[in-house]
Symmetry: C2
Subunit: 256 residues, 2 copies
């Protein structure tokens, strides 16, 4: 199944994505078995981030080639950081580059695990069962701010810096797929999605030693490669078996 | 007014705290003007964190004496980090020290601003109007993990490490108050709440240059002093004009 959230008359509505239509649902599939209340054509759907997490986890260095490229050391255990919900935006919505941003402004293509159960002290088997489905994230980063600031607050969490979507795919072997990053249709990176130092289940086991995960929490799994993006570009991230997350890049307007 | 969230038959219910009773409300005061549906005596209230934020902001170094003590440099502009909702717990609920934690395990008494409006590109006057009210936070920290880990995930965001409450006070000049930290009734720290490098409104102006704040977001303002806490202790943080946030400290049980 593919579950999404779409905007209908200004309201966020859960949907199930079928061949040509999005079936609008009475509630969240994370909380029960919602009814179908209507449909909108897929071509007319106004896509929202497919879930608003209670906690938004993000893995940093997790792909061997990314670690080597950065000259970083390979982590000896899973660790996580955080991103912020204000930065989330949906499929086809613009990534807005702030007027102040100069230097490297980059897309990072990431697999996202969506948690479906409340769990603590999970073993690997429980961790596997706790993933409701998979979506795609773009961990947009302004590198100058990333180096200037004490935290990632502006560099990775400015409004629109976290496109997520287009939907949550529940039936895919996510770690056996290929992640492809395209800018204006040109392939800029492609890598095996599952070529991670620690996979999502390893992270869930480690996190839940200390932390309760809840339905709707998301875990972004890091990227192997990144690429520069500019206003006017369109950035597509495809993970085979899940879908394509596509966002245009705009330049922030004048707010003085 | 004092607004709280309490647990009633396992459900989270908003309340307005009066002299002897908590008036149970039909909804969130952040979203309208709820009706009173019933009462519970204040002495029997099961306090929850007074709000579950969409984004949980936290300021680091913000009190001159804390900065001097840490040998850090004074920030030249407001910056924020993040904490995680799983770690929130209410007034009177236990802080659970993980079995693995050794070394310094500390309480940090903090003023918390609760945002009441959606705002972006705010000036100082808009920032002042956007604060719905004030509560109290305890930024419990396991220092060994803080130094070992790449992020604050375990050190500051393990379950129960973020007591918040007891309620949101809407009618107080929060920056003119005194913050007092007591362990088992003994004063361990006391400082002027408003003796900050950058106050909450400075932070809101800076944050909203890049980020949209939403009703229910919280901004923890940092601490001047900290102190060691141990299983068996009771930690009280008082901010005059707001209230007292009190939590016992327990030791994690065996989960193997």
């Amino acid at each position: 199944m593919r579950y999404a959230r779409v905007s209908v008359d200004g309201r966020a509505v859960w949907g199930r994505v079928a061949e040509t239509d999005v079936e609008l649902l009475s509630g969240s599939p994370l909380e029960g078995d919602p009814e179908v209340l209507g449909t909108v054509p897929v071509t007319e759907a106004a896509w929202l981030p497919p879930v608003l997490p209670g906690v938004f986890y993000a893995v940093g260095y997790n792909y061997p080639r990314h670690i080597a490229h950065a000259g970083a050391s390979t982590p000896d255990r899973p660790e996580v950081g955080y991103r912020a919900n204000n930065a989330l935006t949906g499929h086809r919505s613009p990534i807005v580059r702030p007027a102040e941003v100069t230097g490297r402004f980059e897309a990072e293509p990431e697999l996202v695990a969506v948690i479906g159960r409340t769990l603590r002290y999970a073993d690997l088997d429980e961790a596997r069962k706790a993933v409701f489905g998979w979506t795609i994230g773009n961990d947009v980063s302004a590198r100058t701010w990333q180096h200037q600031d004490r935290t990632f607050w502006r560099s990775k969490n400015s409004d629109t810096f976290k496109p997520m979507g287009p939907w949550i795919e529940t039936d895919v072997d996510a770690l056996a797929q290929t992640t492809t990053l395209r800018v204006n249709g040109e392939v800029r990176a492609a890598f095996p999605t599952g070529d991670m130092v620690f996979d999502p289940y390893d992270h869930i086991v480690e996190i839940t030693k200390h932390i309760t995960l809840h339905p709707g929490d998301v875990l972004w799994m890091g990227a192997e490669s990144t690429c520069q993006i500019e206003p006017g570009d369109t950035v597509d991230i495809e993970i085979s078996g899940i879908g394509v997350l596509s966002n245009p890049v705009h330049l922030e307007g004048n707010h003085s």
